[in-house]
């Protein structure tokens, strides 16, 4: 158990160091989402009503997440994959990758939120609830897309397949997260939003449990 935990932390810190060693991917990701938000800004040019604001925010998050996570397995060389395959426990690998992507996407989400508040006014009544939802949403998006990216990397197919396979799987998560955020934006009492919060946690747990169980089958080649 101790070695598993050790492996996990090693892998997460490896991912972080790899990202900062090659900052190009990080920068392009940032530019991608800022450019998308700017496109939304010059298309609308007015203040948005809360529902449109929320939908736009999550659609941009969805595309940024797909862009960010699609490469998480594809960028690894065949040799490195073989090296991991011999030495590591596959369930730990997927957990580490997912955790790193959650971290990445949460930070990206906060940056997106700041950019949104700059270009469009911030209509959120209950900011803490919204940020909690942002974290849970990033969690779910990362977990689903990381597994899908693992499937696509084994299929030796182009990265566009990640979006095709991932989007239908994300419908339940997106519906719930958009509902949760809408309620957070309108500033309802916590007791009203609590069922959605619990549903999100349940969904995220199911997703992580499934990728933990299923990923080892992808791994053996």
């Amino acid at each position: 158990m101790n070695t598993a935990l050790n492996q996990y932390f090693k892998l997460v810190s490896h991912e972080i160091r790899l990202e900062f060693k090659n900052k190009q991917a990080l920068t392009s990701l940032l530019v991608y989402s800022l450019a998308t938000i700017f496109i939304a800004y010059i298309s609308y040019r007015t203040a948005l009503d809360p529902i449109t604001w929320n939908a736009l925010f999550w659609i941009i998050m969805l595309f940024a997440a797909t862009n960010a996570i699609a490469r998480s397995f594809l960028q690894e060389s065949r040799g490195l994959q073989l090296f991991h395959y011999i030495l590591l426990n596959p369930s730990i690998v997927i957990l580490a990758k997912t955790s790193y992507n959650i971290l990445l996407l949460s930070v990206l989400g906060i940056i997106n939120l700041l950019a949104f508040s700059l270009f469009f006014a911030l209509p959120i009544e209950n900011l803490m609830q919204f940020i909690g939802g942002l974290f849970l949403g990033s969690f779910g998006l990362s977990a689903v897309l990381t597994l899908v990216s693992g499937i696509v990397s084994k299929a030796h197919s182009q990265a566009a397949l990640v979006a095709i396979l991932g989007f239908p799987l994300l419908f339940p998560l997106l519906i719930t997260i958009i509902k949760f955020s809408n309620l957070a934006i309108s500033g309802v009492d916590w007791s009203v939003n609590q069922p959605n919060f619990l549903l999100l946690i349940a969904l995220n747990s199911i997703i992580v449990a499934l990728s933990f169980l299923l990923f080892p089958y992808l791994w053996r080649d």
């Binding site: 597994l147 899908v148 499937i151 084994k154 299929a155 030796h156 197919s157 397949l161 095709i164 396979l165 989007f167 239908p168 799987l169 419908f171 339940p172 519906i175 719930t176 509902k179 069922p195 959605n196 549903l199 969904l203 199911i206 499934l210 990728s211 299923l214 990923f215 089958y217 992808l218 080649d221």
Partner: protein
Amino acid sequence: MTIARSWWWKIGALLLLFYTYYEGFVGEVPRMPILNETIRNLYFHVTMWMAMLVLMICNAFYGIIYLNKSDLYHDLVAEESGRMAMVFGIAGLLTGMVWANYTWGAPWVNDPQLNGTAASLLIYAAYFILRNAVQDDHKRARLAAVYGIFAFVMMIVFIMVLPKMTDSLHPGKGGNPGFNKYDLDANMRMVFYPAVLGWTLLGVWMMSLRVRIKKLEWIKDDQ
């Protein structure tokens, strides 16, 4: 797979479907406002979803078996049940659209159940895109099984859990009274349950036929 070749349950399916059609078109149904005679669609619309659900379970179940046994035959059954689930899903969507047009006034309304089924059709479309993207048989089977199991769980959440939490026009959801409360009387129940069984058996029959054709093609290719 001797059960696929035996005939008794196929006769049973045919008899049940004859009964469904007979009762569906000339049987006694309750007179309901708005629904009127369209209530007969219950035997042809709701039953499609039941058959689809059974075939989806089949798909996920054989996916799990494939992952444990690595026998391509199990993958074949999973693939064909996914295909048949799509056929029944489209049939259910079409019959539902006809029904919705006469009762809710439009063929497509923003309803969680409709969105759920549209999503499940998209998921199966993605499943087949994934299958086509991979060349190697065993790898295709493995990836498809993993995706299929994951998709199945997400879909169950979407079509079983989420509609219960939102308002729906469908009976029994979001404060609408359920069928059993007012219009699914004992008379209709006597047709509805056999109809579910009949359509499900028909779906399994169609699926098993496709599996057997594919198996014959494999044997031909080997020679």
